[in-house]
């Protein structure tokens, strides 16, 4: 499997970091600034990008040259991956729905789906609990504390 061992993971993450460092190195060179300043706005980003580029390469090389015992990374099993990816997908959908549907309704949908998916409890119980949660949050944060959450077409 991809990045199964610590060594492979170090090499992959090192390569990604080096690429990232290079990208931000180029981006830092494009930072314009006023002349005559003792610390140019680009200096620190440039140095840090350089550090990330070099340490990324070092991680890659260190992994490549590593000849010790293989350390296996505790990745989840198939079921675990499925749970993580479906949960992540539901969170992404939730964030996209947050503004069009409003905070209260979209949160209710997220909680209901995710709690049901992860725990398989009685759906009616879940719905009652989630209703109580989002209504409490709505009154506490939106009405009482006056926080400016996105509201849906119905105003909640």
């Amino acid at each position: 499997m991809f990045m199964r061992t610590q060594r492979a993971a170090d090499m992959v993450s090192g390569a990604i970091l080096a690429a990232l460092g290079l990208l931000s190195l180029v981006a830092s060179l494009n930072i314009s600034g006023v002349t005559g300043e003792h610390l140019h706005p680009r200096t620190l980003p440039y140095l840090l990008s350089l550090v990330i580029f070099i340490t990324g390469l070092a991680l890659l090389l260190g992994g490549w040259r590593y000849r010790g015992e293989e350390k296996i990374i505790a990745w989840p099993d198939r079921e675990g991956w499925k749970r993580i990816l479906i949960s992540l997908a539901s969170i992404v959908v939730y964030l996209f729905l947050l503004e069009p549907l409003g905070f209260t309704l979209s949160s209710f949908l997220l909680l209901t789906f995710l709690i049901w998916y992860l725990g398989r409890y009685n759906l009616i119980l879940i719905i009652l609990m989630d209703l109580a949660t989002v209504v409490t949050i709505y009154y506490l944060f939106y009405r009482l504390l006056g926080l400016n959450f996105p509201v849906g077409p119905l105003g909640w």
């Binding site: 993450s13 930072i31 070092a58 989840p76 991956w81 993580i84 969170i91 992860l118």
Partner: protein, 502 residues
């Protein structure tokens, strides 16, 4: 600057006003709760609540945030003892003996000793804080920008070198944290940096979203991959510790207070590290070391004492220099900054009432926590049994609320999600989280002090070595880096992980 009784007394009168007392109680409750609940810790809790507290004046808000931090140290022991699931990394040594005691039906005394030891050590180290912080703040009064830069540089070096085997990864995490904080407009010249031409990135990456992502969301993702844990409960026979238990634990409480407090002064020495050190020390001086790991009550006392002492010790560098020693205190520093307050000698000088009221509230908070924990421990143990499938989605929901309410931008929520995934990967690939958080929070102060120093010296970096105090910090920083490298290549550092995974 020195300690004065009248200022402390004034602090007490302020901390004891009904409103401030209410927020201390609220903070203690929330702190115990997040300490008890595995999957959410003080760092996440403070980061999530920080934006919401901006409706409060600074004093009650900071009293509450601080109470969440030290309250979590009390709560962490409960699950460790009752169900062998440490709520925090710092409670792992507590679980070693505490759970064994619980299996022998002595969970009650173990919980009682944990609460008493937390209180004793918390209070002793608060006395240390009360006297040390103004003293050090007096020293820090002489600091100019070069000294501050050197001090922060030293703090970051120490955190990196405490990453142990993962030294390189600690350095990477630090550099990434600093770089992320530089995205957006340059605070000094207003120049757009690393924005890749996008408007969203112009506003910058908010460090609260970063921390909510790394800690709260990242931890939920780690827990989601496992199937729901089956948790079983031990019968608890007697609730209160006896005289015998106290006799065995008293020495451990005092010793762990001292160890925890002094190690807590160092950046990077989070409770997760010092509890192990205090536990080992206690095992070495004990007359019955064979009992350790099999239900030695003094092991519980040592771990829980060190836990709380480190926590109060960490407030010393925060109050006197404005330097956080771990992720939770870094978020707390962020809280000060949201109010435009900069902890450090100037705060002691210009706003002594605020500082002393916070310190006084911590004494009161420890009493509140003892009262909350001794009789109600059964209740907390029950709350710990909330199954993760319910808790996890709720943490996600609160993370979104927290990230959104920083600036009311969806962008911040997406940032939190991205850093959540990054936090998950960093945990899996053994990158330490603590250096990244510290770097993100300190980045702006670091750059500003660097800039001011270079103005003072007309551009010469030698200023960090010609001013004596700055030179000492810089040399210490270099020594620490060398020490870290030595640890790295001699392979002695398996136990020293500066990371506080919440």
């Amino acid at each position: 600057m020195s300690f004065s009784w009248s200022l402390l007394l004034q602090g007490f009168t302020q901390a004891l006003t009904p409103v401030n007392l209410l927020y201390a109680i609220l903070g203690s409750l929330v702190g115990t709760l997040v300490g008890v609940l595995p999957g959410i810790g003080p760092t996440s809790a403070i980061a999530i609540l920080l934006p919401l507290t901006t409706i409060l004046p600074p004093l009650p808000a900071i009293i509450m945030m601080a109470a969440i931090y030290y309250g979590a140290m009390y709560g962490g022991s409960t699950t460790a003892i009752v169900v062998n699931i440490p709520g925090e990394a710092s409670s792992v040594p507590t679980a070693m003996d505490g759970y064994q005691l619980a299996r022998q039906g002595r969970g009650g005394p173990a919980l009682g000793i944990a609460a008493i030891s937390s209180f004793v050590a918390g209070t002793i180290s608060l006395v240390g804080l009360t006297f040390f912080a103004p003293l050090l703040a007096g020293v820090a009064l002489a600091f100019g920008p070069p000294e501050y830069f050197a001090l922060m540089f030293m703090a970051l070096s120490l955190v990196i070198s405490l990453s142990g085997r993962a030294l390189l990864k600690g350095l990477i995490a630090t550099a990434l944290g600093l770089l992320v904080a530089m995205v957006g407009l340059d605070p000094l010249t207003g120049e757009a940096r690393l924005t890749f031409g996008t408007v969203s990135l112009m506003a910058g990456v908010n460090f609260i979203s970063v921390i909510i992502g790394l800690f709260a969301i990242g931890e939920v993702l780690v827990n989601i991959e496992r199937a729901a844990l089956s948790i079983y409960e031990n019968k608890i026979r007697d609730w209160l510790p006896g005289l015998e238990d106290l006799k065995y634990s008293l020495g451990a409480m005092l010793r762990s207070s001292v160890i925890g407090f002094f190690l807590g002064l160092l950046p990077g020495c989070s409770p997760a590290v010092t509890t192990f050190i205090a536990y080992d020390a206690e095992k070495k001086v004990s007359k019955r070391p064979h009992l350790f790991g099999r239900g030695a009550i003094e092991g519980v006392a040592a771990a829980e004492g060190a836990n709380n002492a480190t926590c109060s010790g960490g407030f010393v560098p925060l109050f006197s220099f404005g330097i956080p020693s771990g992720p939770a205190l870094a978020v707390l520093l962020g809280g000060f900054m949201m109010y435009g307050l900069q902890p450090g000698p100037m705060l002691f000088k210009e706003n002594p009432n605020l500082v002393w009221a916070i310190i006084a509230s911590m004494y009161i908070g420890n009493v509140i926590l003892l009262v909350l924990n001794l009789p109600l421990v059964g209740l907390w143990a029950r709350i710990a049994l909330i199954p993760f499938p319910i808790l996890g989605p709720l943490i996600i929901l609160f993370s979104v609320i927290g990230a959104y309410s920083v600036r009311f931008l969806m962008f911040d929520v997406w940032v939190a999600l991205i850093f959540g995934i990054l936090g998950y990967l960093m945990r899996k690939l053994n990158f330490p989280l603590a250096p990244m958080v510290l770097a993100t929070v300190l980045a702006q102060m670091l750059e500003t002090s660097l800039k001011q120093s270079l103005v003072l010296s007309s551009g010469s970096p030698l200023i960090f070595f010609t001013r004596p105090i700055a030179a000492v910090f810089m040399i210490l920083a270099l020594v620490m880096i060398a020490w870290g490298l030595w640890l790295q290549f001699s392979g002695r550092s398996a136990q020293l992980a500066a990371d506080e995974s919440d």
